[in-house]
Structure formats: C-alpha cells, structure tokens
Amino acid sequence: MTPLRTTLAAGAALLALSAGASAQTLIYCSEGSPEGFDPALYTAGTTFDASSRQVYNRLVEFERGTTETIPGLAESWEVSEDGTQYTFKLREGVQFHSNDQFTPSRDFNADDVIFSFDRQGNEENPYNGYSGGTWEYFNAMSMPDLIESIEKVDDYTVRFNLTRPEAPFIANMAMDFASILSKEYADQMQEAGTPEMLNQAPIGTGPFSFVGYQKDAVIRYAANEDFFRGAPEIDNLVFAITPDASVRYQKLQAGECHVMPYPNPADLDAMEQDENVNLMSKEGLNVGYLAYNTQVEPFDQVEVRKALNMAIDKQAIIDVVFQGAGTAAKNPIPPTIWSYNDDIEDDPYDPEAAQQMLEEAGVTDLSMEIWAMPVQRPYNPNARRMAELLQEDFAQVGVDVEIVSYEWGEYLERSKAEDREGAVLLGWTGDNGDPDNFLAVLLGCDSVGGSNRAQWCHEPFDELIQEAKTVADQEERAELYKEAQVVFKEQAPWATIAHSVVFEPVRPEVENYKIDPFGGHIFYGVGLSE
C-alpha cells in the first residue's frame, strides 16, 4: 500500500473505532510539530511527547509524575562490584506494534536493545547516518566515551560494559534517546530501501501505537491493547497541533481539547476561575541562577558573593518576572529531584547587613556587569527584567550594575570564558532527574571553562560529587549530594534565583493526569469520565 492509502485506511479504522459508543478519544492540544518520530535523532520536548513518551519504552523508566526510576523493558538489573558492568534482565513476551508494512514475527529481545544503541554510536551501523542522524543526546550525555561495549549474554540478558563507574547511568537509560526500537522493523525497511520509515512511521512497544501524522496539523495514536503494563484507559489519542497559547485555551474552553501545555501567564487568573478548567501545577525540573565569576576579583571572596545574595529581593522577582509562575530557589537543584536538601536555609533578604558585609570585605564603589539572556526560558521568562530588578537591588547596597546582552549563541559562548567579567544570568533544565546532571555539569571542576559559568572549582564540593558518581546505592548517594548542597550554600558561587512552576490546564473530565517533572506529557494511565 502507498503511504497515502495506509493513512486513509488507518483513518477509516479510527473513524470506525470512534463511532463506537464506548470508544474514548483524548485530545491533546500540543504546542508544536514534532521534527520526526525517532527520539534519538532529536532534542526537543515536543518531539519526545509525540514519540518516545507514547510509542516507545526504555530499559528503565521514570515513574509517572516523579523522577524515580522503575523497571521498564528490563525487569531488573545488576551492577558489578567495581560499578562498570550493568547487566539488564529483559522482560519476556513483549510485542512490538504493527502497521501496514510491518508485523513483528518475534517478541522484543536483546537484539532490539543492541540495535537501538549501536546505531547511535557505531558508524558501521547502516542506520548511523540515516535521516542525517547526529545523535545529539547520545553524545551530550557522553555515551561514546562511557560505553565500552554492549554484549548480548542471551536473548533476554544484555550487558553494558562501561569505561568507568557512573551511577547516573541508570537514569540515563530512562532518557528519551535510550528508547528501544525494533531491529526487525529496521531491517525490513532497510531491505525495502526506505530506512526513513523508522523515523516517519514509528514502531515501538509503548502504550500507544502510531496511526498517522498530517504535518503541522494532527497526530493520531491508538491504544496498544497488549501493552505490558496493561491496556491504556483511553482508546484513541489525538494531538491537535495548536501553536498559539490563547487559542489553545479557547479550544480547551470549547471542549475541542482535553489537555493543553504552556498556558499564557496572563490567562492563569481566568483559568483558576473557570469551571471548565482544572488548573494543575508543579515545580519544573529547572533552576535559574546568577553565576558570579569566582575567579575574578572581588567575586573570588565568599563574603562578597554572600553579601550580594543577601541584597536580592527574590520575592519581587517571582512576582514581577515569573508573574507567580515560579518559586524562590535556595538550592542548585529543584525540589522535585531526590536528594534535595530541604534543611538548608536560604540567605535572608537584608540589604543593610549586605552593605555592611561588603564594607567589611573592603569592597566599596563596586561596579559590575550583569548579563541578561536574550531568550525566554521556563527558568527565566524575562532575563532583561530580572537584570533590571537585580540592578535596583544591588544599587541599594551601593553596587553599580551595567546590564549587557548578546545574541544567544554568542552569549552561551562568551559566558564560558574563565576570565569573563561580570555575573551571568542563566539556568538549566534537567535531563534525567539525577542530581549529578545539575551538580556535576554546572558546578564540577571538569566543567570550568564550559558549562560551569561560575568558573568555580572547590575541592570539598567536587570530591563529594565525584564520590557520589561511583556509589550505586541511591540512599548513600543522596547523603553525599545533600552534603554537597550545604557546601554550595556556604560558598555561594551563584545566587540561586528561582525554579519555574509548570501550569497545565486540563478539562474536569480528565482523570488521573499527572504533570511530568521532566516537562513531558504522558497519557498512559489517564482516563476520561463520561
């Protein structure tokens, strides 16, 4: 069948389904179009929502609504004594979806796991270069350096040999790029000369099977009745692509969709009053910060950094910049991440004490630069405004601030320089919910001159996070990270400013929807009341 006929036939089947009295269709007004359906090729959340989060599974998965890892396609796993061998026991009897061109002849097994990773790292693999693949996440998470080899022990056992102990590896295996694809499907498409079908008509093991995509308009999925965790409660899932936030809200009100992401902050008040809308919220997996350059005078002095932190009126920033859609941050990791140290007390807002501390440190007539990002991010919806508020706050303690900005690419590049002048506004959104993904990436000694914008290399802190990487036991790791957060607070390389709050309006008939801390939108386990 041609692709056209396929979609027509699938559409007809869907229509027949939705005509049945009991068939339930959940409509999600998504904010944009997916770039494709092979999650390892891309980095955008919109693409992951449309692919990995509905169609695929991973060896390890995040429990819905949390950052905790639970078994996925792997039933269990063992870590060798030295922490360099991860052996996964795979789930048996799991079936891949079928479509008009493909019906699986065997269950999911170790070959699929090996294929899914091999294509990303092995240039010999025929799928390495397909669809212009650059495997950004696989590279960004340092998989090429980390994975030495992947062995098939037997059909249902796979072993990853790592070059070094790396406790966050399990969380990495739950990320979107680690989704498991069908090797059988890939081989068939390769033979048919249409390898790009892997990216256009995805076949996975997940709760929903892909039915069809009309570019920039609609994506359709059908429930996978054979899903290994049990069939989804809804029968059909539809993504109605709706780029404008106000229009999404109108559609939600009119009952043309059940769930919408990214509401306009200006609409939040109305949504709270609206009886057609149940406004859900949760802290985002991110942090917005102001990074001093700890290698440049006078910011190399802890007292100066502490004093400036005490001069910041965070509540004003939350009210003005976030319009309420944020919470003040006291730690460098968000509260949704395990090991978040809630015992830490934030620096008090006390301009007078701050000024005195500066004087005691011998700093008078200080003038500095604050860098304002040129883009909007959840962790900083308006960096210019934030910089202006900081400018006012710092003026209160006698510090003169000049606000500077560059084009985004330039900004990211220049702020990496170790001899950079000024403090930089930036932030981070977590990839895998592991504290290492914040603390090591943003504050570790290895990242100085790179993603460590504070250029801060503090040995007591670095030792803690390096040790935590080699420990497999999560509770033990959590203790180390909690201690690291105490060191961070004492040393104050950043002013931690805010974590965003994610709002998701859903219709009242939507049951059991949970906001994903990673910013994804997951519809398995969600139901619709009559």
């Binding site: 699938a10 559409g11 179009s33 980095t43 212009g132 960004a140 920039d216 109605a240 404008d244 009119a254």
Partner: protein
C-alpha cells in the same frame, strides 16, 4: 505582444538571481548559527561542532556554499532541512496547498466584496454610505491581525459556538490527499459531513486574511472609479441615456479595473505575509508557520529554499498581471 512578453521574461532572470543571493545572505546575516542554537545551554565541544559543521557543509567558504546551493537549484534540489532532515521541497509542497487554499478563498472574498463596495462608494461619493465604507476600510486596513483574529474566535467560536476555534478539519475525519485542498479532498472522500467541516474551518481564517486586501481593493476601486466617472466618454454614455447601472458597471468599471488588477496582483505578496500570522493563530498547517519556525531555528536550507519558492511565486503572479495588464491596456503593450 510577443516582444512585450519576452522583455518581461528577461527581467525575470536578474531578479531570480538577486533573490537567490538575498535569501542565501539573509539567514546567514542573522546572528547565531544552527549548531550552537541546537545545543543550547547544554553546550557542544569544539570537536563535535567541527564534525557537525563539516557534515552540513558549513566549513566551506561562503561563495562555495552559494554555488553549491545554486547548482542544487538547477537540479531541482533545494537541499535538506537541517532540523527535520527531509528535503525542503517536499516539506514545502506538503504545506503549500493549505496556504494556497486559504489565500484563494481570502482573495476571492476580498474581490467579491471589495470591488462592488468601491463602486458603490464612488457612485455615492461624499454621501453617508461612502464615508461609512471608507472609514470601515481604514479600520480594516489598520487592524492588528492578531487582535482581530482572537476577537473573532472569542465571539464566534467560544461565545456563539458557530465555528470551530482552529485547525483545518474536525478531528473526526482523517483526510489526506489527493489534491491537498481540504475542501476538494473532503468532497472526494465522500465522508458525510467532511465538506461542511472543512468549510466551517475556513470561515474565520478567510475573513481575517481577507481583511487587509479587501480594504485595499475597496479603496483602490473607489478612487479609480472616481477618476473614470469624470471622463468624457462616461458623460457621453450618460448623455446617450444609458441606464446608470450600465454606465457604471460596464463603461466605467471596465476601465477602472486596470489599476485594480495590479493591486490584486500585488496583494499576493501581502497575502503570503499575512498568512504567517493568520496561520499561527488558527493552527493552519501552511507555509507561513513553517517559515517562522525555520527562521527561529536558523534552518538555513529551509529558509532560503522557502523564500526562493515564495519569491518565484510572487514573480510569476506579477508577470502574469503584467501580461494581463498589457492585454487589457494596449498603451502599455506598445510602449
């Protein structure tokens, strides 16, 4: 006439090369490059950056990249989108019918209302109808499209429930091809209610997109008519005792239409520009939204390819208008 057409065609050539150069340069002049933007806060190592740049051909000197691009165009190859990794031409053609369908509806609406309104206003010059109409046209012309579209949605979709909020088709139907025009495909599909759904989805975006061209056409028709109505031959026709409708509608309007045709031709560019906003608000899967996304992602190939195709379309429309103009106005043809 042949010489006229040929001379017009000749001007096509330098314009075409100009467009390729401008579209090539435009996106590269914007600060920021696609690789750094893709990596974002996560950052990218120099090594990896160089590898990707080489893969995408960014390591070549600019003139080389330009000539590769030109060579591609003559082989009908506009390159591959950096983001979706699919051929730019395929991406464009998949979305273009949606924009075309909307634009045709909008220009039809603008002509059907704009020309009669302009004629009536001219004939009733200075009277209430004329003033009311010209005020309305001025408002229409200066209306912010975003605000206007949202207002219509709030009143007619959410409030009265007469039209759907956005999209091209009810989610009940799954219609794809063969023409890409949803109304025609809906009819061909034979599915009950599909055509009605397609039309109801077209109403609001058509009104929004037609608003500005409608105002321009109405004003242009009015002033052209006023000019013609003062001509001797119109007075002669009146003096012969012809019915006013025949004088205004036949003798005067036919001549007044000459400048109006040009304006309609020129408004194709306006329509494509207006489509960007209209499509974004109404979630209309056309090329306007695609171009905006591509610019933000610094998707060089998609932006330059898209710009080139749009420019060629506008050029062809203008050429057609020029030729038409020559056909209805012998003065131009013989110059």
């Amino acid at each position: 006439m042949l010489r006229f057409v040929l001379s017009r065609l000749l001007t096509f050539v330098p314009t075409f090369f100009g467009v390729t150069l401008v579209s090539f340069a435009f996106i590269r002049l914007l600060p920021g490059d696609p690789i750094t933007l893709l990596a974002g806060e996560r950052g990218i190592s120099q090594e990896r950056y160089d590898e990707l740049a080489a893969q995408l051909g960014f390591d070549q000197p600019l003139w080389m990249q330009y000539f590769d691009y030109l060579a591609g165009i003559f082989q009908g190859d506009l390159g591959v989108s950096f983001v979706t990794k699919r051929p730019v031409l395929d991406e464009f053609m998949a979305l273009f019918p949606a924009t075309l369908e909307l634009s045709i509806c909008a220009i039809t609406l603008a002509v059907l209302i704009g020309i009669p309104a302009g004629v009536i206003a001219a004939v009733n010059r200075g009277k209430f109808f004329d003033q009311a109409l010209m005020t309305t046209a001025l408002i229409g012309y200066s209306m912010p499209i975003f605000w206007w579209a949202l207002l219509l949605i709030i009143v007619f979709s959410s409030g009265l429930g007469w039209t759907p909020v956005s999209g091209r088709m009810s989610l009940m139907f799954f219609i794809e091809g063969p023409t890409g025009f949803m109304t025609i495909d809906a009819l061909l599909s034979g599915q009950e209610g599909a055509f009605k759904s397609a039309v109801s989805h077209l109403i609001l975006p058509t009104i929004v997109l037609a608003t500005i061209p409608l105002a321009i056409i109405a004003r242009q028709t009015r002033s052209a008519m006023l000019e013609v109505l003062g001509e001797d031959y119109v007075r002669t026709a009146r003096a012969k005792g012809l019915a006013p409708l025949r004088v205004n509608g036949f003798h005067a309007l036919r001549n007044a239409l000459i400048p109006v045709v040009t304006v309609i031709g020129l408004s194709v560019g306006t329509l494509l520009a207006g489509a960007i906003l209209t499509e974004t608000i109404f979630s209309w899967p056309g090329i306007g939204k695609w171009m905006v996304d591509s610019i933000f992602r610094r998707d060089y190939q998609a932006v330059q390819g898209g710009l080139l195709i749009i420019a060629v379309i506008v050029m062809i429309v203008n050429l057609t208008v020029d030729i038409l103009y020559g056909a209805i106005n012998p003065k131009i043809r013989n110059r």
